[in-house]
Symmetry: C2
């Protein structure tokens, strides 16, 4: 039983058929969101159905887009640990600080969730070849799941992306192009290939299902807390898909009656060297401007303009959240804090959430005792360059 209903544009509300390949809204060009028959699901599904299922994000399969289980391409993604960060929490004055450690995913990052959902649905819809630009880790994840699915993957990434991301694409057999520029430049190259060769475009939010994989972080946060929601979620935003997904998940969970509705404040953190969402939030804008000269050690945060910016900013506004930036030096210091204090070797992007928590605690925005969930989007293992700097700092 699956409750997929349709796709809908969150900007102009145009409905789209979910049972054929779709990219952006044909009317206004915005990313599409996936809708489910939640009222029907509320009556048909108790949350206990997931209890005995395998430890993967597919435990919530009725609320994911794949119609036939045989199309699920899984490498064990999801159901990552939620760890009480006692040492780090003590250092910054928050005794209820929890890290959701997405480094324990296949390919070492949360990108595995989006790739598992996106590739599975692409396989189900008969797509044989996909193409995407990436800052690095999404490309690795899509290359892995495409290899498992037998789908050809064409990946373009900045030539100064972490070496491991390139090696991953290569070992998985993806077609890899290195671009002298940023993810936005890689995007232009892919867009051209999509136009010329008819590749299916799986750039961030240009297909609707990646977000469905990411939303499972929200389902898991609720389930792992004993089917309740935390006070605050802090998320390091590049493209911002994860926070849109978690926000969507909390809404679905309330509609399903699986959790009591509760106001959760969402916080976005970005690198000081590339902070278009922070700038837009502070200027009370509904969307962001292209960030020129993006530069940060947190390669996943080098996204000068996110296609889903308006959705991220909406989530922040509606949840009474906020946006905070972190310098590279602050991120490197926070990597050391988490490693020494809690034995957690997190990525620079994940470290930015600690920096944000610290600043928000200092300003009084966060109160001692509040339950704060930090999303560590990947394993520090994938960042030898940043780690070299961190241990020297």
């Amino acid at each position: 039983m699956n409750f997929l209903s349709h796709l809908e544009c969150p900007k102009c509300q145009t409905r789209h058929d979910a049972h054929k390949p779709q990219n952006l809204c044909v009317k206004c060009g915005a990313p599409l969101l996936v809708y489910y028959r939640l009222t029907e699901a509320k009556h048909a599904l108790a949350r206990d159905i997931v209890r005995d299922r395998p430890r993967s994000m597919w435990r919530y399969k009725e609320l994911l887009p794949v119609q036939d289980d045989r199309n699920i391409v899984s490498l064990g993604e999801g159901f990552t640990p939620m760890l009480h960060a006692r040492g780090t929490g003590k250092a910054i004055g928050l005794d209820n600080l929890i890290v959701k450690d997405e480094g324990l995913n296949p390919t070492g990052t949360f990108k595995a969730r989006g790739a598992s959902a996106g590739v599975s649905r692409a396989k189900e819809l008969g797509i044989r070849e996909v193409a995407m630009p990436t800052a690095g880790n999404a490309g690795s994840a899509w290359a892995a799941y495409c290899a498992a699915a037998g789908i050809k993957a064409r990946i373009a990434m900045p030539q100064d992306a972490p070496e491991m991301n390139k090696l991953e694409c290569q070992i998985y057999g993806a077609d890899l192009t290195l671009v002298n520029g940023l993810i936005s430049d890689a995007g232009k190259l892919i867009a051209q290939g999509v136009k010329e060769h008819g590749w299916f475009d799986t750039a961030t939010l240009k297909e609707p299902y990646r977000i469905e994989g990411k939303k499972t972080m929200g389902y898991e946060i609720a389930e792992q807390l004993g089917w309740r929601l935390p006070d605050v979620v802090i998320y390091p935003a590049g493209g911002g898909v994860g926070i849109i997904g978690i926000w969507k998940a909390f809404g679905e969970l309330a509609a399903l009656g699986w959790v009591e509705p509760k106001p959760v404040r969402f916080v976005v953190t970005q690198a000081a060297g590339c902070a278009p969402l922070v700038k837009a939030f502070n200027a009370h804008r509904a969307d962001s401007e292209f960030w020129n000269g993006a530069d940060t050690v947190a390669s996943g945060l080098r996204v000068p303009k996110a296609l889903g910016d308006f959705l991220v900013l909406k989530a922040l506004a509606e949840s009474h959240g906020t946006a905070i930036d972190a310098t590279d030096a602050e991120m490197l210091a926070a990597m050391n804090t988490a490693a020494r204090g809690d034995g957690m070797f997190i990525c620079p992007e994940g470290a930015a959430t600690i920096v944000a928590a610290q600043k928000l605690r200092q300003s009084g925005w966060l109160k001692q005792g509040e339950e704060v969930v930090l999303i560590n989007t990947g394993a520090g293992l994938k960042y030898p360059e940043a780690t070299r700097d961190a241990v020297k700092s």
Copy 2:
């Protein structure tokens, strides 16, 4: 409720008190094994008690050494996925090939299990400072769990160990010494420090609890197969703790009545450039000889002489198993096979299990249809050097 009974020497059967710190058998110098009151546990514990527990190796806590849950140092280790390797299986003629992917552990390898058990028990016994030699990954894992536990870790590793292992020890705040030589040389240095400064020696099998962490792989294999045992387990042996642990686990599970007893054949694979156990097995010896000039891309297999060699060889003999070596070129090729065929980026040590499976299938020792579990001990991510070679090969 916990069923820890005592420690016993598997060579001379001398009993040792489990409730104080112990290293090797005081009588004969062999590694000690942990015994539980299994008959009592059989009546008191049903396997269903683990069903609703967190997805970590501590779900089997009654059969692990820690007496007080507050001493458990956990970073989300264990309950790693068992993945059907369809592409690789097809390539080598085994349609029931399963990879237990230990890369999805904290610190990216199965070493997290041994460290979680060993550090937790050390904490419980009041130990404040540990020291160990390592080929690389065990040091990283112990550094992480010691940081989480607030225990000082002193690690010695070969100077040509993978760079990431060094960075991990540094970021976790361990005291790291690089040695111009092999793990055996690092061992001499640590032994000297243990003697001079009274550090607690946590070298492989020199403390009894690391093996208890590793044995949880065996518990999980059984649980994840629906509480039954596979036909064959193939394991890449450096120190060999994992295979001793899985062998011990299958025995305990049968004694507990949690699985039907079944003859499982154990296979050990080693690098052709360092294969003391393979050589000893082929010579029908009960222990191995020091391997001179150890050299392989699989850094975890560069162990010239394992302290538990006699236990590994016993497990192979009693289970009607075998031992097979793999060249570096074969391992690198198998890394590509798994990545391209199944989207699994495994480590060179894990790739050696594919090489062994392929050779054993060709010789007829493995039959089509047999359920064969390969232990991928770590994430390929931790091996940029080997991966560079693999993508070129």
